[in-house]
Symmetry: D3
Subunit: 248 residues, 6 copies
């Protein structure tokens, strides 16, 4: 007996449930930053820059170790309807802070801060166009920008060994009308019952798992399905990171 | 062959890896709120109040549906060393916002907002003393305060059917020196490699799963161990909520 | 001829005009602070903690003298109807600032800052439940928390002589429907024509007198009656502080 | 036996202990406000304007009653050394808020808000030059500006009976080197042991009494001396208000 | 006698003193906004979006007239060294506010707000990469985005006549080492003695002239030279706007 | 053929188009500041103080050079209708920031910061009464206050040569109903099509030119007329500054 195909959610662009949207990584997208990557997950476009600053925040000062931190922003009209500019409102939303803390933790998970030395790597992830999955695109793109910045430090002789221990990438998964899907776009994200963001290393280990039941609570079986989808998607993203970094 | 017991992390108070700290739920802890519960997870003490307000935020106005929202705070000296008072600093930290958004989503997951009617249930979770697990204690206690407030609305005839569909409770799990542990206290939390907060319903379904590798990334096998620990802990907490609510 | 008894305001709990509400001082209410006292004036409950920090604000740096400062807060549902959380609103109200400045000045009045040495004593007074008189309870409780913290410094050999020169305690008095009353509870405070907060030392001298005509202005004779009431109430509070500190 | 004269504090300008500084009230100091008064207590100069706004804050809306409120500010270089501009710092200090709340309460004490009708009287008190006593000058001058604004409302037929029930004025008193003094100037204020601000009506009743021991606590006898000084000073100020208002 | 050619400032890319950098206008750069234009002045890249909102700010409500307003931002790493994110700092700098006010005024100068009807056109100008002239690029690009948004309103029948009365464009001019130059890039801007931003209509009339002596004050003769340079540059920009809008 | 006189705008007080309002400069208006000048342009009254601080902001530290900076404020009832107090609102408006940046740049244009030495000159310009032209009055008055402060530094031997290289003054010009006018008062400013603020040195060179078309864009011919008007007005103001400084 088979699950009737009719019950499954039909995705745009003939995408299957297990398929990523077209992913594009454009290095050196802007010229000033030590690393600058435009990452696209379908219509979602995030500009990730890595900036090296030769000092560390107070909690790391004098330890010999460096710091990796992230900030996230969304242009006011990256979205369907215009959102208020956070700089004009005078504060970052809880959502923004949550996302930038997640990006920072995810990147730090693959960094050896001692090898980075007493300097800070600032990762700025700014969404130019949003269509779901901005935080996972941001993590995946920020890794490539960080790698470019680290390569610059190595080339300049400022560090002698790379502080990057492994790749890190992220993807969203979710259950829409009963169907587990990989890499939700905006309309899917709005309709989903469960939404999960997964961050994994190149070795296939978990850095972050954040699952939320937007509608009904989800079962252990559903979680297993989602984790399997995410694992395969992230393996693909890590390969795409490698390809991008292998290019000149 | 067995894992040598000597390698396991030794917990304070002879606690086993699968054991909750002593949990205490004190209802009607303060007198003004519609629901007021002091919840203790060992030394962690959180005062959870539920306040009913007869209006809703803009996004719910005119829909006939209500809203459930949460705020979280920590007294300056709830912790080992004094932290700045957020009201004096003029803003809530990213951590505070993340936690109060989690509490709000967790409670909304078991509410039928239509049955609540156009009113808001404010859940205030204030940490009087912190020793790890404040957000999971807050969710578990806030549920009981919310139930008391809902009972008041039913008794007053303001609503005729309960908007609460199921219990919700939360617990932290983590891996400390290779040992998966239930309900981390502060010293365990500081030392852990992986930290996971799990929120589940009375029916045993997931509302939120937030796992973070603080040190090394964790494997799928470790995640399975942590989820199993959390499931048993939450079942116990739900029973304790029921006992507390059954008391006069 | 006598003033007809019928005209006097009748207080709850058969309290006479000159009677304090039941006062309870619970030391070591929380475990982390150097001093931690829950003070209750009837239903009013304020948690007062004293925290020692081994540095001073800029204006005292290099003087050899220490500093004593206070912050005051109210849990959102300490009151009859929920008030906004000041941390969420992003600023402390004028009332909050006025009260915390009063507490700080009152405690500094009995401290020899030179004997304290270059360290700061932070007094955090957080109202768990409000029923009038929160600022006077805060001052009276903060003194006991401060004494416990000072005793800790003496025991640890960090200071050799106590910087505390005398007790300090506070009470409110007011005129309700023509009757001068000691220690106003919330319903009395709301109805009073004149409200006065008095802070005095153990020696019976004034540290602060703040009288306000809420309705009609008050006469010199009325002020004399209020000051006399306050003097007797504070003498009682100082004795209760001594009893509490004498206990193990 | 007499108190030796040598022990008394010698004031500038041959002023006696019971003497006010030269007081000057200049009405119509600026041209736009409904009332505009420059008040001078010696070198202290405060510009007090009264502005009528034909609406009330939320808590008064629909009651038929009006509102009287005050704001206080100090030009950055009103003082000996430049202070930060509060608008640039982005918040008003606790001291500023305390003072403007005091001015507002003091003026409301002599207003019948029902007779004012649903409109707001804004009193802005801005210190152009400070030499002690700015808050008491502000209250005394704001009364005259308020009277001018009320006269305008009467003349325009917007109200038919004056909402002002009595005069209100304020003065500072204090004990400097053991000598009780009226109307402290800056050098006296800095040196004083006890500082008291007294606000009274034309009828000689108290609106506010705020006494603070800056150094040693003060006795009941000292308080009586201070209250007597204040009473005579305020009677003089009320007469000066009357003279100023009697002028064309 | 002639001015020796050797004294003139040599520009990068063989640019002459009267030459614009290569200008590129890319319409429909992002997909959600009603108008979306990436404008490039050499390395300076500004994303200008126009968003239509069907309501107006308070000051226009009920007038039948619309509003045009602008916001300006710079991605943290648009510049040589990373600047703080304004959303994280919690406020926009004076420079940012000055620029966005300038953009708003410039666009309103060519709008008939009555013909726009009671709706707001939000112009968001976000600098992706900065190399001098970001505010003039922003105005020039925002005009094209505004035109696209207006065309959308006309096409949808929401308005029947265009509210746009003329083109508007802007350019910077300055004196570097004695040589008047058109369209300063960053290194020129940093070195210039006088810097002027000029905003003109398609008809060649002035909307804004903002000239600043960064070093020595400038003469009337120099101003005339700068105005002439700006006039020719803006005529060119207006033509480029027309070409871009003529394309499909 | 002549331009019919009837078409010209008629000014209050029989003022001609080329005439300044009565200008008054009162030095030593307040007593604490190193320079303190009340400047009046007709009904516009601005108090300009210059304060010397013996340190510099971070960007100048260690350079041996000083800094000159300005802040601008408006008393709430300086205007026809009361404006919100910026200190109470918690931020300075864009207009305020724009003006104070202009004042600072204008004054720095005539200062040799090396000769000032590592100290800051703070210029505070506070509008007591507004009737148009507050920013130009502020610049013109701040120059005189700055000169007084510099004279004090010279007299005290803190500097040996004056850091002031030339006078600086400012005036507004505009086109009202087709007539170019000098020194706009409020009703003219509200009605004008073009508004220009011009800042010039004593030598007659430009420091700032800020022209804005409020209504229709303006032509080159109109700009020339405005610049000529401004030049003559500023020459007059510089002479008035000299007269004021020549007085004892």
């Amino acid at each position: 007996m088979t699950t009737p195909i009719a019950s499954a959610f039909v995705r745009s662009q003939q995408r299957t449930a297990k398929q990523l949207r077209p992913v594009r990584l454009t290095r050196r997208y802007t010229m000033h930053a030590e690393g600058s990557v435009l990452i696209e997950f379908g219509h979602t476009k995030v500009l990730c820059t890595a900036s090296v600053e030769e000092k560390v925040p107070g909690h790391q000062r004098g330890t010999g170790a460096g710091w990796v931190t992230a900030e996230y922003g969304m242009l006011p009209r990256a979205t369907h309807t215009r959102s208020d500019r956070e700089a004009a409102r005078g504060k970052q939303s809880g959502r923004t802070q949550e996302i930038q803390r997640l990006i920072g933790r995810s990147l730090r998970a693959v960094f050896d801060l001692q090898l980075l030395g007493e300097r800070t790597l600032h990762l700025d992830c700014d969404v130019l166009q949003a269509d779901g999955g901005t935080r996972t695109a941001a993590i995946t793109g920020a890794f490539v920008a960080a790698q470019d910045a680290v390569n610059g430090l190595l080339a300049a002789g400022k560090i002698t060994a790379s502080p990057i221990r492994d790749h890190v990438a992220a993807i969203s998964v979710g259950i829409v009308q009963g169907t587990p899907l990989l890499d939700l776009e905006y309309t899917e994200d709005s309709a989903c019952d469960t939404d999960m963001n997964v961050v994994m290393t190149g070795a296939g280990h978990y850095v972050e798992v954040q699952g939320t039941a937007e509608g009904v609570a989800f079962t252990r079986h559903e979680m297993d399905q989602l984790l399997a989808l995410a694992e395969s998607g992230i393996a693909e993203l890590v390969q795409l990171q490698k390809n991008a970094l292998a290019a000149a």
